[in-house]
Amino acid sequence: MKIAISSEPKLLHILRGVIRWQARELGFSEADTDCLALAIDEAASNVIRHTYGGRPGIMLSLEIAVYADRLEFILEDSGPKVKAESIRPRSFDDVRPGGLGTLFIQTYTDTSCYDASYGEGNRLKLVKFLPGKAPERK
């Protein structure tokens, strides 16, 4: 499934709605569904705010792929390249407004990968393992 929206904050709820639907279909709890919707919403918000500088009318897309053990979310935009090293979560001990989005993304997804080799624009892949399917940590 692939959804494309214009870079307008008022459209973000559409992405959240689809993510919630998909997560519930796959058996995620309501709490985990909310967290997942928040993580992807934060990633899309970052594109609108930072990559596109708040300019409306530019497309961004979200692809949702379901595998046997995981959900993959691929967010693509056509903005200027983001420096991968600039994508860092805020320190846990840092108390201030802003800078929380990346922390939420990294906390509420299992892996996040910025694809620096992507042609024009940016591609961020976020993975969430399905309930009971997360690999055991050694």
Partner: protein
Amino acid sequence: MTVQLRKINGVSIIDCTGEVDLYSSTELREVLLKEVRSNPLSVLVNMSEVSYIDSSGIATLVEGLQLSRQTKTRFGLFGLRSNARSVLELARLNKVFHLFPNEQEALEKISSTEPFAGL
């Protein structure tokens, strides 16, 4: 999302309903900062009907808290649902705000809190 303001015994209560995201947080910010600037004794944000809040919504609440320090206004939140409380905890902001379980307790206790607690 809707934002409405009411006053009870000199306490300003901002009733926020629905989803607070990058789009709707601007409306909350406008109402909240305007009210704190009007310098009431206390401002409370009713979060009981907030079903979703993202980082921009949290940043708005922190901004209100920071401004309340300047205006010497007591500032608190009440009625947080579990998802909103979870993100505040993750952001380590649950100890920064005065949090109350419900409106009654918030009204009873806000006047005895330190007006400048927090950031």
